[in-house]
Assembly symmetry: C2
Homo-oligomer: 200 residues x 2
């Protein structure tokens, strides 16, 4: 059995959202699983000296257009939120908390957070909102709220982010397939060819 | 008859080279022509405050790997040149000189320059080399050498570059299809869908 595909993402990354709606089905087509790993893009940008895409003159305006067009291209429901970007610590920590207990519930939670932001435009930086979404998994919102404020989950998110940067992550979505790195929702076709051919 | 697709490129841009090997056939499939427009990326990077891709820490290393892999993905012969990037003024000016006289010869010249650099690793910043390639079109190398040092062709290249930046170009390859901008060789599938459907 091959190792799962690693899918690193930030909940406030639009191209991560687009990829999140497609990667599981793509992997399943080739009998592969996906390990979802929320990270924070801020530290990766600091390390590489990059500015957030949408803040770059001219390129940022194009990106906004490209994101909406790419959503139509992939057939993914999408609406640009009014507030962008947002801090995603609460959502990412809640993901790891749930994942350690129940992987499918964590996956459902991640989809729900992505859609809350990228379809409904809700404020996913709000820990109450995040805990409410997580609570639909059957774990009490109060327990989740306490957990995501704990040093353990703060450290966990920091370690996942730093580890990904050390292995070469500089943006998101960032995939590792059999050790091969792929950056961007627009590399899904190359990932598919990789899975179909065993590497090229 | 629809307007031609505009294909802006810098001869020293690897993703431009990849696109140059595919865009004409893609357009022809939908009865469309392509207007090739060599430009200089330097001024576009200055305008947007970007650094050359390969000079960015971590991201640059990934890009080098992605370029070679993308060449394999598209089935395009490719070898990373030892000297990168190179100034491309001579090649771009020679292109416009030839284009004003004979469009197909200019197209053949552009392919030859791209391949001289991205397959054979030759120094396309060298005006003598460029004039030699251009001379195979039947125009004397001395005439071309004089022309590309003239103010008229310098102004032409500057105008094409500035005009593209004004219309939104920040990187290359940069395409305009029915007024819609597409950036990157990886947007060829979206361009194809656009041509097939009349926009989406």
């Amino acid at each position: 059995m091959s190792e799962p595909i690693e899918f690193h993402f930030d909940f406030s990354s639009p191209y991560s959202y687009l990829a999140s709606e497609r990667i599981d089905a793509l992997a399943a087509k080739y009998g592969r699983k996906v390990r979802w790993l929320p990270v924070l893009l801020g530290p990766a940008f600091l390390k590489t000296g990059q500015k957030p895409l949408l803040s770059i003159p001219i390129k940022g305006e194009y990106a906004r257009r490209d994101i909406a067009r790419s959503a139509r291209y992939y057939g993914v429901t999408f609406a640009f939120p009014k507030t962008f970007p947002l801090p995603t610590q609460a959502a990412a920590r809640a993901y790891y908390f749930l994942h350690d207990r129940d992987c499918p519930k964590a996956r459902a939670f991640a989809h729900a957070v992505f859609r809350a932001y990228w379809v409904q435009g809700r404020d996913i930086s709000d820990a109450n909102l995040v805990c409410g979404i997580a609570a639909s998994s059957g774990i009490g919102a109060a327990e989740i709220a306490e957990a995501i404020a704990s040093p353990a989950l703060k450290d966990r998110l920091r370690a996942e982010t730093d580890g990904a940067i050390e292995r070469g992550m500089f943006g998101a979505p960032w995939f590792l397939v059999d050790g091969e790195p792929f950056w961007g929702a627009d590399r899904l076709p190359q990932i598919e060819k990789w899975l179909a051919t065993g590497g090229f």
